[in-house]
Amino acid sequence: MDALELLRLNLLSPMVLAFFLGMAARLLKSDLAFPEVLYTALSIYLLFAIGFKGGVELSKTPFLVLLLPALATLFLGLLRPLTGYFLARKALGVSRVDASALAAHYGSVSAVTFLAALTFAQALGERPEGFLPTLVALLEVPGIVVALLLGKRGGGNLGEALREVLTGKSVVLLVGGLLVGLLSGERGMERVKPFFVDPFYGALTLFLLDMGMVAASRLSVLRRVGFRLVLYGTLLPLLHGALGVYLGHLGGLSPGGAMVFGAMAASSSYIAAPAAVRIALPEANPSLYLGASLAITFPFNLVLGIPIYHALAKAIGG
């Protein structure tokens, strides 16, 4: 399948289309709005379900298979906030605090980007490793911590922010779901599959409809902050994504797995990181980090990034 065909396939998936529909609804000033509770309910469902599926898979994975990818994940968790920070300082010329805020977002991970990549891989008939959700959980936290350390250098609410990240609902649901899946195994899976597995992509589609609305309401930032932020929000994921694909390959992942791993590395957080940054670095400008992460990097990865990481993975490993 050639590049264009891949892109078309990705663009025409219900998920990506729903995202655009959400954007269109907001731009048309439709009164369509998801109640916040629906957003919360869907995200509880999605995060727990990812964790759970990962846990069930993990219960069948020998420890050794997991070792290298886990190390690669930790390495990325430490490296990515640093590249994010220095690129922000050099290329965007923002303050130390704003650079740290951006670093926290590009040091953490987006569960939805991960899912979109996973779906894409599966639609192409790839079989990404089942334990990848474990790595999502592993990648979520360290990047935020490193970035906050960069921002604070020994002051204030770092402890509180760290606790906030570790006990934050996305970590608790991902890791908790993972443990539930790990302990209940295939036997548990049988019972809850029609709820946590079969309807999953449909629920994700609805969620992306909402994400599209949210992203559109952040689009205005692009006009204000300008072109350099767009470059930042696309080149950084490409860099991280390529690194991720490569490390995934080195760590022994299948091409499909390496591609999803790359998408993880390329993604930026918009749930855990904003909350942590708002507490620990209140002086940072939310328009900057939310705009970059949500209105630039997320759609970029969703639409262009994922097929690119796929092509890379194929080129290296397939």
Binding site: E36, Y39, V214, I271, A275, R278, P282, E283, L290
Partner: protein, 100 residues
Amino acid sequence: MNLVPLKLVTIVAESLLEKRLVEEIKRLGAKGYTIVPARGEGSRGVRSVDWEGQNIRLETIVSEEVALKILERLQEAYFPHYAVIAYVENVFVVRGEKYV
């Protein structure tokens, strides 16, 4: 009717601050509070039902002294960086002695 004149302090703030604000006002002497979820717009733009977190509207009935302490603390620690607004008014409270 036993009505005690007291101060009603209302704080509208981004919901992320809820836990901290509750701790602060209790530390400064509030005996209770009531919170409702809210959305709004101010100098920092629209804060609505989007997931980035809406606002909360927190009310607490306190003595004048505690009211002032709370407002001072807000002015000092929260107004500079967070979306917060606070005001105080006079109310007459049933069994008001409970709240001072």
